[in-house]
């Protein structure tokens, strides 16, 4: 049968099945081979909060979404174009997000009576016409595999375990993806297990062949290569990027790296990665709790390490007191908070941007510290390097915010050439004769780092207020005021050492869209769409939350209206209004999920059409209504 070929710009595929169905694995493979094929890719694993929920249940569904295409792939995709559903529960949970007329590839084996019941289907959706608005492809994968393996002498149990790979093969045909990366991955992964290799490779091919022959698949979709800068690429999650960023930063600063951490979802993967880096001389302590995690890191910082602690919300709350000590002792320390949905235990596996306020203010006393936020998975690498640079240059703890979404989502990352990355220079004390523990570099206001082992610089630091310069404990009132101000000025001064905020689109006008953190992708995509529709919207993204870029005030006041989309109830809005007295319109979502770009697009279109409230910001008293 002759097949059509159709070129498309971008596609979202979602693999969904039971926790035991291997969906994370095939999702990752699909993503890698799309990168290999030269496309932009953005992916998100979506596993259940249960470790291994009972088979076939709704809460046991595990999914992996891949959004890929030729250009502007900044999100994991608002809607699903192709859903692979291995059982009834996974169809039920994921159908709502499938685009009308989208393709649904179903393994019919997962729709027996028991499965339907567990999924809460009264009738079989494959038969009751409820899926008429989709292109449904029904496959009895078990049967097809049996057929495909008929001539091979492979245990049927083993064959049946490759259903996910078969499904992958089907999607590979559908988008004409290369098989090589997966084949070579299989060979590496199952090295020395010939049976298993054979079963998987054959199954992959079988899926491809099945699709090619099956009349239900009428069209093969082709995606042009993206126009990516040349180089080596890999796929990377935010958590991996942080781990790599730390090792590279330590190398660039010629410092040993020390991580003190306590496991917590979704930050634990950073600890996992670091714990595997023994060959790089990295030391880590899996501490007894978060307090020991950060304080052990602070001890290592006192000793001259590039010291780090990683955590998520509840752990960050516990670190509050120790962060204050780091601020007072002016030691370099990186605190990575992979934000998750709170408050309290909240929705521990879901994403949110609700730790901005605690990052800014979550300590007793006047305790300012720099706060950075990564915009995407790969940006986590750059911002980690930045956090290290600032911590070492200004002798201060630095908070780096990422979140569960970019922490776990992956995208292709152009592997940097380490040699060309700039060095980071820590500022060690040098002259024992003139040494004073709290003498400062007049430019940065950072004090010098005098670590044990440096002769003649023995001194004592601690949490009590210090006399300026000498660092001796001081209860003098005026000195306290001075030191409070110095600590504040030190942080504020970093504004001179970070890039100014860049506005994409007109430099002044009606609406400025301002985002921070992981909403970057969705906002950028929405802005792109709005522009395509002919709207004029300016856009800027904040990576530095404290201090803000020094032109931020100017930028804000050049616009009639400022709109901030956030996955919280308006935390950046709050900071901006407090500091710049510029009213902000918030677009807020607190659902444990990232924005869809289309949500933003729609809301901004509403704003653009609201002529009547367009002028509200000149009314002095009114507080802007959030959308």
């Amino acid at each position: 049968m002759e097949k059509f070929k159709e070129h498309v710009e971008d596609v979202t595929v979602r693999f969904a099945g039971d926790s035991g169905d291997g969906m994370q694995l095939v999702g990752t493979q699909f993503s890698d081979s799309s990168g290999f094929a030269g496309n932009e890719v953005n992916t998100f694993p979506d596993f259940p909060s249960e470790i291994r929920a009972p088979e076939g249940t709704l809460y046991g569904v595990s999914a992996f979404q891949v959004h890929f295409g030729t250009r502007n792939i900044n999100t994991t995709g608002d809607f699903v174009d192709v859903l692979v559903a291995m059982n009834a529960a996974s169809l039920k949970v994921n159908l709502a997000n499938v685009r009308t007329h989208g393709i649904i590839i179903v393994n019919t084996e997962g729709f027996d009576e028991r499965s339907l019941k567990l999924a809460g289907y009264a009738k079989n959706p494959l038969e009751d016409g409820s899926l008429n608005n989709y292109q449904l492809v029904l496959i009895d994968m078990g049967k097809e595999l049996k057929k495909a393996f008929i001539e091979l002498d492979i245990p049927s149990k083993l064959i049946q375990r490759t259903k996910n790979i078969f499904a992958l093969g089907v999607t590979y045909w559908l988008f004409h993806r290369p098989l090589e990366p997966t084949v070579s991955w299989i060979n590496k992964k199952f090295k020395d297990k010939e049976d298993v290799i054979l079963a998987n490779v054959h199954s992959l091919q079988a899926g491809w062949n099945f699709a090619e022959k099956n009349p239900d698949f009428k069209t093969q979709y082709l995606i042009d290569r993206s126009n990516l800068p040349p180089g080596k690429y890999r796929s990377i999650t935010g958590n991996q990027a942080v781990a790599l960023g730390l090792v590279v930063a330590a190398t660039k600063a010629r410092l040993p790296l020390f991580l003190g951490s306590y496991p917590i979802t979704p930050a634990t993967d950073i600890l996992h990665a670091i714990s595997g880096y023994k060959r790089y001389g990295v030391k880590h302590l899996q501490a007894e709790d978060e307090i020991a995690g950060i304080t052990s890191a602070l001890g290592a910082a006192f000793g001259g390490s590039l010291a780090v602690t990683t955590t998520s919300g509840p752990g960050l709350s516990l670190k509050s007191e120790a962060i204050g000590l780091a601020i007072m002792t002016e030691l370099p320390l990186i605190i990575v908070d992979v934000m998750r949905a709170g408050p309290s235990t909240g929705l521990p596996t879901k994403t949110e941007q609700s730790d901005l306020m605690i990052a800014m203010y979550g300590r007793h006393g006047e305790a300012p510290m720099p706060v950075l936020a990564a915009a995407s998975s790969s940006d986590c690498f750059d911002m980690t390097m930045e956090a290290a640079r600032i911590a070492l240059k200004y002798m201060t703890p630095v908070m780096l915010l990422t979140d569960g979404y970019i922490g776990q989502a992956s995208e292709p990352w152009r592997i940097p050439d380490v040699a060309t990355l700039p060095d980071i220079a820590p500022h060690f004390a040098e002259d024992a004769k003139t040494f004073k523990p709290y003498a400062r570099n007049p430019e940065t206001l950072g004090r010098m780092w005098a670590i044990p082992g440096l002769q003649g610089m023995e001194h004592r630091i601690g949490g009590l207020e210090k006399e300026d310069g000498s660092g001796i404990v001081s209860h003098d009132p005026i000195n306290h005021q001075k030191m409070v101000e110095i600590r504040q000025r030190k942080v504020d001064g970093i504004a001179n050492d970070i890039p100014e905020l860049e506005v994409i689109g007109p430099a002044e006008g009606d609406i400025l869209l301002l985002s921070w953190g992981s909403t970057y992708g969705a906002v950028r995509t929405a802005v792109g769409k709005l522009k395509e529709k002919g709207h004029i919207v300016s856009y800027a993204h904040l990576r530095y939350l404290n201090p803000f870029p020094k032109n931020l005030g100017d930028v804000l006041h050049r616009f009639e209206r400022v709109v901030i989309p956030e996955l919280n109830t308006g935390q950046l809005k709050n900071l901006i209004q407090a500091k710049y007295l510029k009213p902000v319109i918030g677009i807020n979502k607190v659902q444990g999920k990232p924005f869809k770009s289309v949500e933003l697009e729609e809301k901004i279109e509403v704003l653009l059409s609201m002529e009547n409230i367009k002028k509200w910001s000149s009314k002095k008293v009114d507080i802007p209504v959030d959308l």
């Binding site: 890698d32 990168g35 030269g38 990516l228 800068p229 040349p230 180089g231 080596k232 690429y233 890999r234 990377i236 790599l244 090792v247 590279v248 190398t251 010629r254 410092l255 040993p256 020390f258 003190g260 880096y277 023994k278 060959r279 790089y280 001389g281 030391k283 302590l285 501490a287 007894e288 709790d289 307090i291 020991a292 304080t295 052990s296 890191a297 602070l298 001890g299 290592a300 006192f302 000793g303 001259g304 390490s305 010291a307 007191e321 002792t329 380490v418 820590p426 060690f428 670590i451 044990p452 082992g453 440096l454 002769q455 610089m457 023995e458 004592r460 630091i461 601690g462 949490g463 009590l464």
Partner: protein, 349 residues
């Protein structure tokens, strides 16, 4: 990768014997109350330092909050007066990062056993090579007199005006239960003994815990007099010496004998009792250590002083270094290039 720290450590350091106790006295007033036990502990510590054979710049004192927390200000080495209860994890991080340093922790019964209790038991278990001096005055002093986890039941303090209802920890037993390797007890009235204990703690590779009875003149004066005053202590304490029998008393005429697991006092001058009946101390026996620990709050037995247990076990930071070394030996030092490339990558030209 050779780091800046390596550069610093490669520079020549002062010789081993060039110090005196004076070199460790910074030019500041000691602000503990006159007669505070902490003052008596300071001098054996200062006297010990020159004998360690460690360059001064490689010694670090870390404390938490409490009267005891002031200690680092009075010892002219590197020092860190941290926050309440957290001296141990700070010290652990430092020692793991910098095994070349001699790391000491000074803490209190509240700092170490109350808010810092978890770090304490984990430090015992991990066996990082840190020496801990716990100033036990059986009260929170810096906050002006509340009962602490080592205060006895019924103790009247500002927060227990009708008597405390808590039973105390037995710090030695707790350390043993948490599998500490080196556990000792001393007090503020015998500086020579104390200096010896500190020396042994330093020599011990791994975590060393010394409970030091330290009189608080203001909020719990005399709490330990029976065990520490020169005229009563020989009858009310027994000094432990490895492989020596447990004899005590002004005339060394009393001994501890085991009746089953129960220690009892025997009179060595009485008919039928002889030195060979007396229990012989063995620092390496952890059951014996627990029996000795349990003598602590007895009203009829002398209180054991000295080294209760001293076991050998590799220290944590050694293991960390070994694991790195072995991995590097096995697979070669990691190249950043391959690290960044990860498991699979592709090229775009």
């Amino acid at each position: 990768m050779k780091t800046i720290i390596d550069d610093i450590l490669e520079k020549p350091h002062a010789g081993e014997t060039s110090y005196t106790a004076k070199d460790f006295k910074p030019d500041v007033d000691v602000r503990w109350c006159a007669g505070c036990g902490a003052i008596s502990v300071l001098s054996p510590a200062q006297r010990l330092m020159p004998e360690l054979g460690v360059p001064k710049e490689k010694i670090v004192y870390i404390s938490g909050i409490g009267c005891s927390g002031r200690f680092p200000y009075y010892m002219d080495t590197y020092g860190f007066h941290s926050i309440h209860g957290r001296a141990l994890p700070i010290a652990s991080g430092l020692k793991i990062a910098r095994p070349d340093l001699s790391v000491w922790v000074v803490t209190g019964d509240g700092d170490n056993m109350s808010i810092g209790g978890n770090h304490f038991i984990h430090a015992c278990r991990r066996n990082v090579d840190i020496n801990v001096m716990m100033f036990n005055n059986e009260v929170y002093s810096l906050t002006k007199g509340q009962f602490s986890p080592t205060s006895h039941r019924g103790q009247v303090t500002k927060s227990s005006p009708l008597g405390s209802l808590d039973d105390p920890f037995n710090p030695v037993a707790l350390a043993l239960g948490a599998s500490a390797t080196f556990v000792a007890r001393g007090h503020d009235k015998d500086r020579a003994q104390l200096q010896q204990l500190l020396q042994k703690a330093h020599q011990h590779k791994g975590f060393s815990f010394i409970e030091i009875y330290t009189n608080c003149r203001i909020f719990n004066d005399g709490a330990f007099d029976l065990y520490t005053n020169a005229d009563t202590r020989s009858d009310s304490t027994v000094w432990l010496e490895h492989e020596q029998p447990l004899v005590f008393g002004k005339n060394k005429d009393k001994g501890i004998k085991l009746d089953g697991f129960n220690p009892v006092v025997i009179d060595l001058t009485a008919e039928g009792n002889s030195i060979s009946d007396v229990l012989v101390h063995n620092e390496k026996d952890s059951t014996l250590a627990f029996i000795l620990a349990n003598m602590t709050y007895s009203e009829v037995l002398p209180r054991p002083m000295g080294i209760i247990q001293n076991l050998e076990r590799s220290s944590y930071e050694e293991r960390v270094v070994d694991q790195i070394t072995q991995e590097v030996e096995k697979k070669g030092a990691g190249s950043l290039e391959s690290l960044l490339q990860g498991g699979s990558f592709w090229e775009i030209n």
